[in-house]
């Protein structure tokens, strides 16, 4: 997969900032205000296929969230990644009018991470049910889940998962991260 260097893409160079190249892929950073202009111009330049749209939670950073767009130009076989940052409670302009596949992807990013897309025609939850109060992919949402105050839904208690034998957490020490990695003396063999 070959990345795009920026030649012949004046808009890209003027609107976006090139980030580091990694494993043959090029990422570009763009301010969210300039996103609609850039995306529309990229589409007319051949990037007719929006492969994926991912929201990323960088908890502890400011701005907190990042939206990552993977674009493909199928004629020239080029791949490009556009990234834009957005703070908590802030909005990103929608690209669902540029590529209609973005409609569901943006709904998913809203549902999972709580990133709002301004101008989206129908920003409802898509994977979780309507009225669910949390955004489960946020880093501060526990793996075991949170209880919800919804009496008509059967399972409102948190799942009995935390601390179970098959749950790892992201701590750096193996003993903290991996509950099965006990010191030898603790084992009853």
């Amino acid at each position: 997969m070959s990345g795009l260097s920026g030649e012949g893409h004046g808009d890209l160079l003027s609107l976006a900032q090139k980030l580091s190249e990694f494993r043959g892929e090029t990422s570009w950073q763009v301010e969210k205000e300039k996103l609609p202009e850039l995306m529309a111009s990229l589409k007319t330049q051949g990037f007719t296929y929006l492969v994926d749209l991912a929201g990323v939670d960088h908890q502890g950073e400011d701005p907190r969230f990042e939206v990552v767009y993977e674009l493909c130009d199928l004629h020239r076989k080029k791949h490009i990644r556009i990234k834009t940052k957005v703070g908590e409670g802030d909005t990103v302009p929608t690209v669902s009018h540029v590529w209609r596949t973005a409609d569901w992807h943006e709904r998913e990013a809203w549902d999972m991470l709580g990133i709002r897309f301004a101008g989206h025609p129908d920003l409802r939850r898509i994977l979780m049910w309507d009225g669910y109060p949390h955004h489960p992919l946020r880093k501060d949402f526990p793996l075991a889940g949170l209880s919800t105050e919804m009496p008509d839904i059967a399972f409102t208690a948190a799942a009995p998962l935390e601390g179970g034998p098959f749950v790892t957490n992201t701590a750096s020490l193996a003993q903290d991260r991996e509950p099965r990695a006990h010191p030898a003396e603790e084992r009853s063999l």
């Binding site: 997969m1 990323v56 076989k77 790892t168 992201t170 990695a181």
Partner: protein
């Protein structure tokens, strides 16, 4: 909302809006319905028999795979990929392993690549067989389902021989597979593909000459090529519309550029085209498998990176260094560099992609699954209006989606 007094069996009970009494009917299909192939829910607004508005509800099989991935090491997530497109688990394993290997910067040894190509193509045949059987059964041709399942059974036997499991294979690891090919496996695969050509011809005859099947699929659910791409359709659903985008040809991985095969495309983009593309793809998969068996090289089947790739089991039990490496790889995970990659693989349902965002270490910071069924289904709201209710199962069947992958 005003209420009206209703008699038993009064159709007014199911109409919406006081102003449109007797004109529009809202029909709920699913989430548990034979023609929705899992837990897809459709809310259709009908004018007589014609769909005027469709709302697709997904998420009934959401298990939070992406959240789970952030809480475990790279290798621990492999079994979860089995449960994405659970009709082709081997292909998911391969796609995920290739994505992490791209992040790690590995170049697989030739034997591992060819092994994975055979895995992918066997999975493709098996998934298309089920898709076709279920599609035909939705349209009343029950026989096809029984015939394709006989063939799937043979593939399952081969997969069990290879991985030890029939369904949830979990075959790949970062940097290789769990084991080398067992002796006699390639002969078994060759035996299968040699008898499969004839079966394919038989399947073709069974449906191509079935008047009911052809009448119910031709010129139905037509998707123009540019609209299909706009909605992110991939796989046979996109190629049925005439766009020849196939990841194996456009962004080759696992050495697919060295195999001779063709990418079948449709001309109209109707249900019948999507069906014929799948039929032809199985034939091409057989060609690829034959080439792969002929060229199967010897040598290592894992990447040589002892600190990040699981060592051979016999060495773990006899050598100290390998035991330490095994312990580190299992408990802390392969030590990935800081960075982000996207890797897309051509799976039976379309482009299965993984966006990996790593902050270094054995655990992903963010793992996004680009599920082909999710994107394929997003067109339904636009596609279904204008068709009759009896056409809806035909269109759904021709899409060949899997909710495990769509909902993740």
């Amino acid at each position: 909302m005003s209420t009206t007094a209703l008699d038993v069996g009064d159709t007014l009970a199911r109409t919406v809006g006081a102003g449109e009494v007797g004109e529009k009917l809202v029909l709920n299909i699913g989430p548990s319905h034979p023609s929705t192939h899992g837990v897809l829910r459709l809310i259709l607004e009908l004018d007589g028999e014609v769909v005027t508005r469709a709302d697709t509800e997904i998420g009934y099989l959401h298990r939070g795979d992406e959240k789970i991935a952030e809480n475990m090491t790279w290798n621990q997530f492999v079994p979860y990929t089995d449960r994405l497109d659970y009709l082709a688990p081997l292909a998911n394993n391969v796609a995920y392993a290739c994505a992490v290997e791209k992040l790690m910067g590995y170049e697989l040894p030739p034997r591992a690549k060819v092994t994975r190509v055979i895995c992918c193509e066997l999975a493709r045949i098996s998934a298309h067989l089920l898709g076709l059987g279920a599609f035909a059964m939705d349209l009343g041709a029950m026989t096809m389902f029984l015939y394709t399942f006989t063939e799937r059974e043979k593939i399952y036997n081969l997969i069990e021989f290879l991985t030890g499991a029939r369904f949830t294979t979990s075959f790949t690891r970062v940097g290789g597979q769990t084991r080398d090919l067992p002796p006699g496996f390639l002969e078994g695969v060759r035996e299968f593909v040699d008898q499969f050509d004839e079966k394919l011809i038989e399947f073709g005859k069974m449906l191509n000459r079935n008047r009911i099947f052809v009448d119910r699929t031709k010129d139905l659910g037509v998707i123009p090529a540019d609209v299909a791409l706009d909605f992110g359709l991939t796989g046979p659903n996109l190629r049925g519309s005439g766009n020849d985008y196939d990841v194996r040809k456009y962004f080759p991985y696992l050495g697919y550029e060295t195999y001779e095969f063709e990418v079948p495309v449709g001309s109209v983009g109707d249900c019948y085209d999507r069906f014929t593309v799948r039929m032809e793809e199985m034939r091409q998969s057989v060609l690829i498998i034959r080439q792969a068996i002929d060229r199967m090289p010897g040598g290592p089947w894992q990447v040589d990176d002892p600190k990040n790739v699981l060592p051979a089991k016999n060495k773990v039990l006899t050598k100290m260094e390998e035991l330490i490496h095994q312990f580190l790889v299992v408990t802390q995970g392969p030590d990935a560099p800081v960075g982000e990659v996207y890797f897309g693989a051509e799976n039976p349902k379309g482009e299965l992609g993984f966006y990996l965002n790593s902050r270094g270490g054995g655990v992903p910071h963010r793992l996004k699954i680009r599920a082909p069924s999710f994107c394929n289904l997003s067109i339904l709201n636009q596609l279904l209006p204008g068709h009759t209710v009896s056409d809806v199962p035909a269109i759904l069947g021709s899409f060949d989606f899997v909710m495990g992958e769509c909902d993740r």
